[in-house]
Symmetry: C3
Subunit: 282 residues, 3 copies
């Protein structure tokens, strides 16, 4: 039965990846200035279309017009105080999928306040490193969350499995999916827990592999459920990461090769990237 | 006679490209955060110098001190509400060339309001995809313009030739040049219409090839007429695009090769890139 | 004796580079939107960790929590009016090292006002091109400074040695180090003057090699004195620059190779990069 479920997941991933390549769906982003270019290029490489905004009414427009939105709080500007709640509200009201990257949770009062407000608007996918996922569950008062933040800037100080309960609790609250990035990645919809394998140590030696992953998950979320979108995103990143990593001579050539491999990965390649399926604790 | 005119255009392109390589002229930019790095690197690769600003007085300073300015409304911030009109006014009053990229026209109230105001300040070169050019002509109440915007975020839904009349009308209003980007690019000064060939499908598989082109046209506009600057910009982009495209394994390696080819293209190579010359309808 | 001093400097560089590779220290940045990605990737390539912010309280948090901060005034936004003085004050009060890049000094009133205020907060390392160093010494009323700014946007119009006295005067004022970038780079702590050799002409054919150098110096400043941090930064940049330059076919491939070489440079390679040691005039 577990094999049936795995085959079903793979089939849904193939369909999602194929639909994106065929229909070129747009996923808007409100994201940081450090990796905004890499996010857009990754979204385009997998077959999507990118549009980045900062102003409140433009974000609301994209929330209603686009298929999904990627929200990354990495480098907040004053304008985000209005833009992010209005975008999250518009997405929630329109029933549109959105991906939240709670980057560097714990730094600064606006970041904390915005992330707190997002609890109501239930992001379809939450993606972060273990420390960020633990801290978000803590901020939202959910089981398994940490009291404070162990995020050290944008880096994690906790292992992936330490955030498993927090990830499950978050997914149960939102009704969507939660992804925890690490050497092995964990994705859960609150019922199933999937471990996705692959990638490269170079993914931690460049800035923005997590951001680009969040942006690509938003692209897949325009055509698939949050859980399948998160799994497809991790599969293509782990596949492209290990292919690029095996040829790279350093982080510069890794980035170049990685975008090439994102573009060249076929639906079947992506669905065949190794993953394990488990059930979440009841 | 048409051959004479073509030879004359080629000769002027050679002179423009050569003058930029020799004098390293500065073209400032007020542009989006997504592709700002690629714009600067493209400007430098062809021999120019780049300077990017956000604040009103800095934009006015560059408008007066620099040879030309590139204005791209891609990712507007609140500060642009003051910066862009003041820069456009300063450029118009100083008789300095400037290039307008009306990215994503139709999204948001500030974008519409700024683009409306630019009618008075007559950008020397307008560069966009067909949907953007049609929408701008419509916004300015010119012949051939569309009522609404068919822009889908930053992508076009219209073919290049559909924007021919709008491009000619815009060029006649500004007294400058208008460029419409597509598989084949169209450049007009309101009298002649030139089709520029070359490029690569990878130019649509990365973010910012249009922005970088606008920035490079601004560099050429420091030493040539708007029409010749737009033609030289398209020629070097189509040449470098097809050279890079023939060697690239994906969008990552394409970007790397493209900057190399921009840098290595000679004056003669650029002038020899194929184009067709036609007359505009009276 | 001079050889002893050179050997001592090399030994300290080895220790700094090795400590960074081993401990992955975080250096925050408040920097421009053009090269922010390149700064982060360079910091990570040498073994550090990057975190970029814009908001005042986030900058103060990083100033207190991080090992050092890189401040680059390249593309000022309105928020920087509050963020930069508060960050500089917090750094000064906490005795934390910080690196100042006075990019494009002379353009705009906010830039001038901020750079003037920084005199009090004594940046540990000042890094700029000759025109910027001359203009900063002039703005601060120090010996050797120029009255106005010869900066042309982000480019220098003065040779490195012309800024020697200004650099020494600045270093004596701050009690830290000053670095002047050019074909040969000059680094001084107000007593010794070091010339660092290497690099590539391609470093002027891409945007951000100076910014990335400033960011990397901040990483080294988390584990070494300002003078050693500046020397180690210049050594690794000159080494990686000349290695990448010898293989690059243009500015695109240079960037890729440069990040690879930053990552692959060993402690000994970096310390062995050629430099000359002189005494400053009394």
């Amino acid at each position: 039965m577990k094999q049936d479920r795995k085959d079903d997941i793979k089939e849904q991933m193939v369909q999602a990846v194929e639909a994106v390549k065929r229909t070129n769906p747009m996923a808007g982003s409100i994201t940081n200035t450090v990796t905004i270019n890499f996010v857009a290029n990754a979204q385009i490489a997998v077959g999507g279309s990118a549009a980045m905004v900062y102003l409140p009414d433009e974000a609301e427009f994209l929330a209603r017009a686009g298929g999904a939105i990627y929200v990354n709080v990495g480098t907040l500007l004053p304008v985000h105080e209005k833009t992010l709640p209005r975008a999250a509200k518009a997405l929630h009201e329109a029933g549109k999928p959105w991906v939240l990257d709670p980057v560097a949770i714990g730094i600064g009062s606006l970041r904390t306040e915005l992330l707190r407000q997002f609890k109501t608007y239930k992001p379809s996918v939450i993606r972060g490193n273990p420390s960020e996922v633990l801290a978000l569950a803590g901020l939202w008062g959910l089981e398994g969350g940490s009291k404070g933040s162990n995020a050290r800037g944008v880096d994690s100080t906790d292992p992936v499995m330490a955030a498993r309960d927090a990830a499950v609790a978050l997914a149960r609250w939102t009704g969507g999916a939660v992804a925890v990035s690490g050497e092995t990645d964990l994705v859960t919809d609150g019922t199933s827990v999937v471990l996705s394998h692959g990638g490269s140590h170079f993914m931690n030696r460049i800035t923005g592999s997590g951001c680009a992953l969040g942006g690509v998950i938003a692209v897949y979320a325009t055509v698939a459920s949050p859980f399948i979108a998160a799994l497809a995103g991790h599969a293509v990143f782990n596949l492209a990461g290990s292919r690029a990593g095996s040829r790279a001579e350093g982080p510069g050539s890794f980035q170049t090769l990685f975008l090439d491999e994102l573009y060249n990965a076929t639906c079947e390649d992506i669905a065949d990237n190794p993953f394990e399926l488990m059930e979440a604790e009841p």
